[in-house]
């Protein structure tokens, strides 16, 4: 078989790429969030999972109850001083690689509650990848954040930088 013929027959069946891209593609399209509802924003997070908005189109409909099975933590709502250590424990229990979306004004900065009881921004205790503004953000905003995160994951390759 000549070289040209070989190239012709294999060209349709073989795809060349880098390993990093494949891994990134796989990871990015199956981000499983931990089920972590805290306050009002959690209701909008549930709404994102229902038929009207359907987060399943992005491969993230599998909300896991156990942090061990998830790679994304959506902090949806206000984090109180009493809840903060527990949130950190859950984050520590998630396997690497893992990402965090801070959903809503409260999770990002404390929102309208600048007082003793709330943690003023969840980025004080866990690293945050994407912040969503809004009180509460619309379900579409959460999808947008997820898409931004997917782009990042795909760009990160095999070893996501921590």
């Amino acid at each position: 078989m000549g070289v040209e013929a070989l190239a012709e027959s294999l060209g349709r069946n073989i795809l060349t790429t880098t390993l990093g891209k494949v891994v990134g593609w796989g990871r990015g399209n199956s981000v499983w969030p931990a089920q972590f509802g805290l306050a009002c924003c959690a209701i909008e997070m549930i709404a994102t999972a229902t038929a009207g908005v359907d987060i399943g189109r992005f491969g993230s409909e599998a909300f896991r109850a156990s942090p061990r099975q998830s790679d994304l933590m959506i902090v949806s709502g206000r984090v109180s001083q009493k809840m903060a250590p527990i949130l950190r424990t859950i984050y520590d229990q998630m396997p690497e690689p893992k990402w965090v979306i801070s959903m809503g004004a409260c999770a990002s900065t404390g929102g309208i509650f600048n007082n003793y009881a709330l943690l003023q921004g969840v980025d004080k205790i866990v690293p945050v990848d994407v912040y969503i503004p809004g009180c509460p953000p619309r379900p579409e905003d959460l999808l947008n954040a997820l898409m931004i995160l997917q782009e990042r994951i795909k760009a990160q390759g095999i070893l996501p930088q921590q």
Partner: protein, 161 residues
């Protein structure tokens, strides 16, 4: 109704009937009301009158008990004033079971000690929290917002603001 000797003062505020009783006789007063059909304790709370100049207050802390008679729809508010550090008052959890948690909350937020309460521990804040957040000399807290005078004043207790 509350018998005459227990009543210190009574009146009407914005249409709500209220009675002030001595802090030592709060249990007697509430027990009498309960016998008269006021069986539901709607809520129990405390108001801190530190540096409140709207009138002469007998003491710093005002305990407020709102009772309701479910048969008639009729409501009455019972007040008691206490002072001290920490302030003490008798618990009413055995007369009105919902008071159990409400008293814990009042203890947590204002530091009022309810005598004979079965489990007087913090309920909303973590067990190792210092201070009682809803007292008026407890700062609102949070973070300083740069270039905002309003937020600066929030950091200090409301009285100095």
């Amino acid at each position: 109704m509350i018998s005459e000797p227990l009543i210190v003062e009574q009146g009407v505020s914005a249409g709500d009937h209220w009675v002030t009783v001595g802090s030592g006789s709060i249990r007697d007063a509430l027990a009498e009301l309960k016998k008269d059909g006021f069986t539901l304790l709607v809520f129990l709370t405390c108001v801190d009158h530190l540096a409140d100049s709207s009138r002469q207050w007998p003491a710093r802390y005002e305990l407020v008990y709102e009772l309701r008679n479910l048969e008639k729809p009729e409501q009455i508010r019972v007040r008691a004033f206490i002072d001290g550090d920490p302030p003490h008052i008798d618990s009413v959890h055995d007369l009105f079971p919902p008071a159990n948690w409400e008293e814990r909350e009042t203890y947590d937020m204002f530091g009022i000690i309810f005598n004979d309460h079965p489990d007087l521990s913090r309920i909303l804040m973590p067990d190792d929290w210092v201070g009682h957040p809803l007292r008026r000399d407890y700062p609102v807290g949070g973070e300083v917002v740069e270039f905002s005078e309003e937020h600066e004043t929030w950091q200090t207790p409301p009285e100095k603001a």
